[in-house]
């Protein structure tokens, strides 16, 4: 009996290993290993991030499903911070999940969705277009200051170079969803406050990889800033067809989280 169990366990481990090896990335298309090489540089000598990339995911692994923050990375909550971080459920779908009514996912939640990103870099600007919800971020790199504007869903980004690292500081946020953790645990809807500053640190470590670290500095919720490292993987095979349109309002049959067929 024990031997049977051992064999069964070994079979399960083998199946897990095989599935992990053969189940393709969630975007579905098989992909030949891209040629390795050094990070390319733009005409101005800066590392060039231009190209098609998957969304930030755990370093070393394939991108699978939406990325969420690891709670082990969080700094301690301030008194009252946890209550601000987890938005209570009210039963009103427009409050509880406005994104199901095609409201924006916001930053960084939209960037963490399982869809391709196209980055276009030119002197003075970095443009990031995410297929999901067709989120577009226009990031000035010319040394200008943050604008004095009303709070936003995506934040107001300003980038600068620190050696070969592109640092993007995002301010002027509305209080909004932080990530998609809610869909794993429907009791925990994570929010950031309108006082948050989010700082991205991007390095193209080689031809195929962007090291992407995000720092959350939310003084209304946490006692100190905290960070989590991610990685983005180059997908040159997506160049040919490019990004596709994504219009959430076109045929949204799930307003309020209750999908309804058309009949």
């Amino acid at each position: 009996m024990a031997r049977t169990r051992t064999i069964a366990l070994a079979a399960v481990i083998l199946v897990c290993a095989v599935l992990l090896a053969v189940v393709p990335p969630v975007t579905g298309q098989g992909r030949a290993p891209a040629p390795a090489g050094p990070a390319p540089r733009a005409a101005d000598g800066k590392p060039d991030f231009s190209g098609f990339w998957d969304w930030p995911h755990a370093p070393g692994g394939p991108a699978r499903g939406a990325t969420v923050f690891d709670s082990k990375r969080f700094a301690p909550f301030k008194p009252g911070g946890e209550a601000l971080f987890y938005e209570p459920r009210t039963g009103d779908p427009r409050h509880d999940e406005p994104r199901a009514f095609c409201m924006p996912s916001g930053f960084p939640s939209n960037l963490f969705g399982p869809y391709p990103v196209q980055i276009v870099q030119r002197p003075g600007w970095l443009v990031m277009v995410h297929e999901f919800m067709r989120m577009t971020r226009l990031i000035p790199l010319d040394g200008r200051a943050h604008r004095d504007i009303e709070p936003t869903y995506l934040g107001d980004p300003v980038g600068h170079w620190e050696g070969d690292t592109l640092v993007i500081v995002n301010k002027n946020f509305k209080r909004w969803s932080l990530d998609d953790y809610y869909y794993q645990d429907a009791t925990k809807y994570r929010m950031h406050s309108d006082a948050v500053t989010m700082t991205e640190r991007m390095r193209r470590t080689d031809l195929n990889t962007i090291s992407y670290e995000l720092t959350i500095d939310d003084p209304q919720i946490f006692t100190q800033p905290w960070s989590q490292p991610f990685e983005m993987t180059h997908h040159p095979e997506w160049e040919k067809v490019g990004l596709f349109e994504f219009v959430c309002e076109e045929n949204n049959r799930c307003p309020g989280g209750n999908c309804r067929a058309s009949q």
Partner: protein, 135 residues
């Protein structure tokens, strides 16, 4: 289901991509514990964002016909997988596997579609659960 098969299914579940969402919540709307597999005739195709929907007339054992609605991935994601809007036409006979809506209506996530010629396509969202046999 024997113990070995149960363990294999469990192994698949833990290695399958996490059902974390993007536009809508798979876990909120569809019940992983209620897989469905129906055979029927396509009556309508909505190849639109944010998720395709297609409808299938399914006849039960008593001969009564019910129309089922299935939600799939966004058109762009499917196109990147090589599945175009011409893949499914009204009148096609298909076998659809997915997970039933929590509200008990005749709606489900349409994880995989098998055509009469045996061709199978995986139509679910990148964030949705995959039915056994889906790819």
């Amino acid at each position: 289901m024997g113990p070995m098969l149960r363990m294999l299914v469990a192994a698949f579940m833990v290695t399958a991509p996490a059902a974390a969402l993007a536009h809508h919540s798979f876990v909120a709307e569809y019940d992983r514990g209620k897989p469905v597999k129906v055979t029927g005739t396509v009556t309508r195709v909505e190849w639109q964002n944010p998720h395709i929907w297609f409808y299938v007339d399914v006849k039960d054992e008593a001969g009564k016909v019910a129309n089922w609605g299935f939600s799939g991935g966004p058109p762009g994601v499917l196109q990147r997988r090589g599945i175009s809007r011409n893949a499914m036409k009204v009148g096609d006979v298909v076998v659809v596997q997915g997970f039933r809506a929590r509200d008990g209506s005749n709606n489900a996530s349409g994880g995989s579609v098998t055509f009469a010629d045996g061709r199978q396509v995986f139509t679910a969202s990148p964030e949705d659960a995959r039915p056994e046999g889906g790819r």
